[in-house]
C-alpha cells in the first residue's frame, strides 16, 4: 500500500484528493497539510511513499523548495508537483528538484489516479510545455526563454541595469528583449507587460 501525503492550501482540493485516495485499494492517506514547509517535517516521523505537492501553499510557502528539501533527505519518496498556475519556470524547477511528475490540476482531465499510478510505477510524467496564456495580443509561448528570463526579473521590480548584471548581458540587450516582447504583446511600455504577466500568473514573483 502506497502511503500518500497531500500538501495543498485548499481544503476542498485536499478533501477531494483524500477521497480519491481513500477510495483506491492501492493507496493509503499518510497525511494532509496546507503548508509546504510542514511537509519535510512530517516526513521525519511518518512513513511517506508519495507526495502530491502544491506549489503555492498557505503563507506563500513554496512547494518546490519543500520538494527539493525532501528529495535531499528522503530520495526514495516520490513527488508529484500539482499546480494550477501556468508559471513558466515551475516545470524546470520541479525537474531540478528531482520531482518525478508534474500535473496541471485544472487542465486536461482530472485523472489524479493515473498520474499517481504511473509515478509509483517508476514513470516520470511531465506535460509537454506550459499552458499558453494571453499576454496582450500574444501567447506566452511566443516568448523566447531569454525573453521570459528578462520578464521574470522585470516582474521582480528590477531596473534594466540590474537585469543586465544578473543575466550577464548588456543593458542594450535587455532593452532589445523588452522591446521584442512589447512588439509581440502589442504594449507600449514594460509596466503593462509586467502587470499582465503577473495577473495572468505567467510569472509568480518570488517563486
Amino acid at each position: 500500500m502506497t502511503r500518500v501525503l497531500i500538501v495543498d492550501d485548499s481544503i476542498t482540493v485536499r478533501a477531494l484528493f483524500e477521497s480519491i485516495i481513500n477510495e483506491s485499494p492501492d493507496y493509503e492517506l499518510a497525511g494532509s497539510l496546507e503548508n509546504a514547509k510542514a511537509a519535510p517535517l512530517f516526513c521525519l516521523s511518518n512513513k511517506v511513499d508519495l507526495i502530491i505537492m502544491d506549489v503555492y501553499t498557505k503563507n506563500r510557502e513554496n512547494g518546490l523548495e519543500a520538494a527539493d528539501e525532501i528529495k535531499k533527505k528522503f530520495p526514495d519518496i516520490k513527488i508529484i508537483i500539482a499546480t494550477s498556475l501556468p508559471e513558466a519556470s515551475f516545470q524546470e524547477k520541479a525537474r531540478k528538484a528531482g520531482c518525478e511528475s508534474f500535473w496541471y490540476k485544472e487542465l486536461g482531465d482530472m485523472d489524479l489516479n493515473s498520474i499517481m499510478d504511473r509515478t509509483v510505477n517508476g514513470e516520470s510524467v511531465y506535460p509537454e510545455g506550459t499552458p499558453a496564456v494571453d499576454i496582450g495580443i500574444a501567447k506566452s509561448v511566443d516568448f523566447t526563454p531569454t525573453e521570459m528570463e528578462v520578464l521574470r526579473k522585470l516582474c521582480d521590480g528590477k531596473i534594466n541595469k540590474v537585469i543586465a548584471e544578473e543575466l550577464f548581458m548588456s543593458e542594450n540587450t535587455v532593452k532589445f528583449h523588452i522591446n521584442n516582447m512589447l512588439a509581440k504583446a502589442g504594449y507600449s511600455n514594460k509596466y503593462q507587460l509586467a502587470i499582465d504577466a503577473v495577473e495572468q500568473k505567467l510569472i509568480v514573483p518570488g517563486f
Partner: protein
C-alpha cells in the same frame, strides 16, 4: 658687428630672457622684483657690448683712447665669452629644473598652484571671515551669484544663501544649497569647519554637479512612475493568491457538481427500476459517500474567522505530532501570531524534538505579551535567526511590536504586539 660681439650679445640676450622667464614662470609675476638686479646687470652688459665695439672701431671711448680690436683680442675675450655662454646655458637648465622641481614636489607655492587647478571653487577662511585662500573659480562663481568678488567667508556664505537673483534658481541637492545658473550649470555649495589643532577654518566648496543633478532629477521622475506601478502591482500580488484559490475552488466545485449530478442520475434510474442489473449498488453508495464528503468539506471552506485561524495551526501541529496549547489572552484574529506559532511548531519539530508547544498570552495596557515555549529538553547555547524567525521579527516590528529569544529552559520566543484599536 664683429663675431665676438655677436656671441656676447647672444649670451647676454639669453641671460636676460632667462631672468624674465624665471620671474614669470617659476617665481610668479609678483616676484619679478627679485629678478630685477640680475636682469638689469645683464641688460647693462648687453648694451655695453655695442658700446665697446663701437669704441674699438673709433679708437676711443668717451674721449679716452682705446687701442683694442675685438677680433684681434678675440682669444682674450674667448674665455670670457665662453664663461658668459656657459652661465647662460646653466641659467636656462637650472631654471627649467627648478620649474620641474616646483611642479613635482611639495613646496610653499604648491597649494596655491593646486588650488587653481582643481575643478571646483575653493575658499579657505578663518572663522571671522578673513580669507586665507580663494581660487579663481570661486571668485568667478561669486561674481555670477552675488555680483561681487567678495569672498569673505562668514559674510560670503550668508550672501550666497540669500541670493535673490531671479535668473538663478535656488534649490537643494544632497542637503547642500544649490544653484541652477543662467547657463544651465548646477553649482552646489558645501561648507565644512576644519581645525589644525590650534585654529579653526572654514572650507567652502562650489562644485559643478550639473550631470549628477540632471540624472538625479530623471531618477526621481522614474521613481515616481515606478511607485505608481508598484502600487498597482502590490494590489495585483495580493490578489494573486485569492484569485488563484477562487479559480481552483470553482474548478473543483464544478467537478463536485458533476459528480453529484452523476450520482443523482444513477440514483434516480435505480429508484425508477431501470438498469438495476447493470448498476453496481456498492459503487453507487461509494460515489454518494464521496460526493457528500466533498460537499461537507466545501461547506467548511471559507473565510477564516476568529478561532479558525488558530485551529489551522493547531491542526497542522497535530499532523506533525505536536500538541499546540494556547493559554491566556490573544487577539481574536492575528495573522502574525498565527505565523509565529506555526514557525515555533516547525522549529520545535526540526531542531528541538519537542511534542508540546505552549503559547501564553497576557493583555496589559493594550499590549499583548506572548511567550511561546516547548517541552524540549535540548539545551541551546546560541540561536541564529534563520528565515522563519527573522520573518517573525520583521512582521512583529512592522506592527510596532517587539521580538526576542531567550534560552531559559529551552528556546522561548517573546513577542509583544499592540492591542486591537479601540
Amino acid at each position: 658687428m664683429s663675431f665676438a660681439a655677436v656671441i656676447l650679445v647672444f649670451a647676454y640676450a639669453g641671460m636676460i630672457t632667462t631672468d624674465l622667464c624665471g620671474a614669470v614662470k617659476v617665481y610668479r609675476l609678483r616676484n619679478i622684483i627679485h629678478a630685477f638686479p640680475e636682469m638689469i646687470m645683464h641688460m647693462i652688459l648687453f648694451f655695453e657690448t655695442f658700446v665697446a665695439e663701437k669704441a674699438c672701431k673709433e679708437g676711443s671711448l668717451f674721449g679716452l683712447p682705446v687701442g683694442r680690436d675685438f677680433n684681434e683680442d678675440f682669444s682674450r675675450f674667448f674665455i670670457f665669452i665662453l664663461i658668459a655662454s656657459l652661465i647662460a646655458v646653466y641659467d636656462i637648465i637650472t631654471l627649467n629644473l627648478e620649474y620641474v622641481k616646483r611642479i613635482t614636489s611639495i613646496n610653499p607655492s604648491s597649494f596655491g598652484i593646486a588650488a587653481e587647478r582643481i575643478d571646483c571653487g575653493l575658499l579657505f577662511a578663518e572663522t571671522d571671515g578673513t580669507p586665507v585662500l580663494v581660487n579663481a573659480r570661486m571668485r568667478d562663481i561669486s561674481r555670477q551669484i552675488i555680483k561681487k568678488d567678495r569672498t569673505y567667508a562668514a559674510n560670503f556664505w550668508d550672501r550666497i544663501l540669500s541670493c535673490e537673483d531671479p535668473d538663478i534658481i535656488k534649490t537643494e541637492f544632497a542637503g547642500n544649497p544649490t544653484f541652477i545658473m543662467r547657463d544651465g550649470n548646477v553649482i552646489s555649495f558645501s561648507r565644512t569647519k576644519l581645525s589644525d589643532g590650534r585654529k579653526e577654518y572654514y572650507e567652502i566648496l562650489a562644485q559643478d554637479v550639473t550631470e549628477l543633478y540632471k540624472h538625479t532629477e530623471e531618477l526621481k521622475e522614474q521613481n515616481a512612475e515606478l511607485e505608481k506601478v508598484e502600487e498597482r502591482l502590490a494590489g495585483t500580488y495580493s490578489n494573486v493568491a485569492d484569485l488563484r484559490q477562487e479559480r481552483e475552488l470553482l474548478s473543483y466545485k464544478l467537478h463536485i457538481h458533476d459528480e453529484l449530478g452523476n450520482s443523482v442520475l444513477m440514483g434516480a434510474r435505480l429508484l425508477d427500476g431501470r438498469d438495476i442489473e447493470h448498476t453496481d449498488i456498492d459503487k453507487l453508495c461509494e460515489n454518494w459517500t464521496g460526493t457528500l464528503n466533498n460537499l461537507m468539506s466545501n461547506a467548511h471552506q471559507g473565510e477564516k474567522t476568529g478561532e479558525n485561524i488558530y485551529m489551522d495551526v493547531i491542526n497542522t501541529a497535530k499532523t506533525l505530532g505536536v500538541r499546540l496549547i494556547l493559554k491566556g489572552d490573544r487577539p481574536l484574529r492575528s495573522d502574525i501570531l498565527s505565523f509565529a506559532l506555526r514557525e515555533a511548531v516547525y522549529n520545535s519539530v526540526k531542531h528541538a524534538g519537542a511534542d508540546i508547544v505552549i503559547c501564553e498570552g497576557k493583555l496589559s495596557d493594550n499590549v499583548y505579551e506572548f511567550k511561546i515555549s516547548d517541552n524540549s529538553r535540548k539545551a541551546f547555547s546560541d540561536i541564529k535567526e534563520g528565515g522563519g524567525l527573522s520573518n517573525i521579527r520583521r512582521l512583529v516590528e512592522a506592527q510596532g511590536g517587539s521580538f526576542g529569544i531567550s534560552l531559559e529552559r529551552g528556546v522561548v520566543l517573546n513577542i509583544t504586539l499592540p492591542g486591537e484599536a479601540k
